[in-house]
């Protein structure tokens, strides 16, 4: 019986060593380049939407005059996705980038649909709201990764996006 308990104790210690030998890591490490790249895409998007909003109804707002934005943003998002994929335990962040890419594809199709007319004010407001929500979600997670093991994320990290 005492031999049984000795083996059991040894097994428990070995299991503990294998399972908890070091700090547990359930999600990827904070990557400042990824964080800054998300902010950079948001900045260029805000600038683009602000410009479009000021040019509603003019030839400058036509899809044909703004294709370069979509090409550039697509390249930035693909780069983001590749960087995130290279990190271990990055599945959630990679999925977030994929969702953002899909939103930009929707926005491009919407712009194509509007053609020479360009996006209207209500469309711009609605697109902006959706994209800003996505950026807030992504940056909130980045902030939590940055602050891990100190303060958990709260609502204070998620500012309300005005309509």
């Amino acid at each position: 019986m005492s031999r049984y308990f000795r083996y059991l104790t040894l097994l428990c210690v070995l299991s503990l060593a294998l399972l908890t030998g070091c700090a547990v890591h359930l999600i990827m490490d904070y990557d400042p380049v990824l964080d800054q790249s998300i902010s950079a895409v948001q900045a260029s998007t805000e600038q683009f939407l602000g410009q479009l909003d000021a040019e509603v109804g003019t030839p400058a707002a036509a899809y044909s005059n703004n294709q370069s934005f979509y090409v550039t943003t697509d390249a930035q998002l693909r780069t983001l996705a590749t960087r995130a994929q290279s990190e271990p335990k990055s599945k959630i962040v990679v999925q977030q980038v994929t969702e953002l890419e899909a939103s930009f594809t929707d926005m491009q199709k919407l712009h194509q649909l509007d053609g020479d007319k360009g996006l209207g004010h209500l469309e711009i407001t609605t697109v902006r709201s959706g994209l800003e929500n996505e950026f807030v979600s992504m940056l909130t997670l980045q902030l939590a990764l940055k602050n891990r093991l100190s303060t958990p994320a709260t609502a204070a990290m998620a500012p309300t996006v005005t309509q």
């Binding site: 697109v127 979600s137 909130t140």
Partner: protein, 112 residues
Amino acid sequence: MNLDIAALVETMWSAAKGPLGNAAATAEPFAKTQFTNIAQTCASIASGVALTEISQQQAAFLLDIQKHATQNALLATEGLGLVAAEAAINAALGAVAGVVNGAVGFKLIVMD
């Protein structure tokens, strides 16, 4: 028809909190803020359609963007839950590291 934003938020939260499990309490403030933003946008789309400022096809693209925004918010809450769970586990391990390491005579639990 005007959409009830508070009701939309509660419906979204009810659907999301099940899959979130134990992380629901941690994620609730962030998730509800995000869901409110999304519900307001859905109401805006509905209003634009009613006023014929937005066509059915345009509405479909706009709603699709909101779906991605919702998915992104849920992914963030899932990630926040993992960060919180990770912090809890590591706090528990850290609390007993000294005792366990002392008992075994070497650094079995390393928290660096």
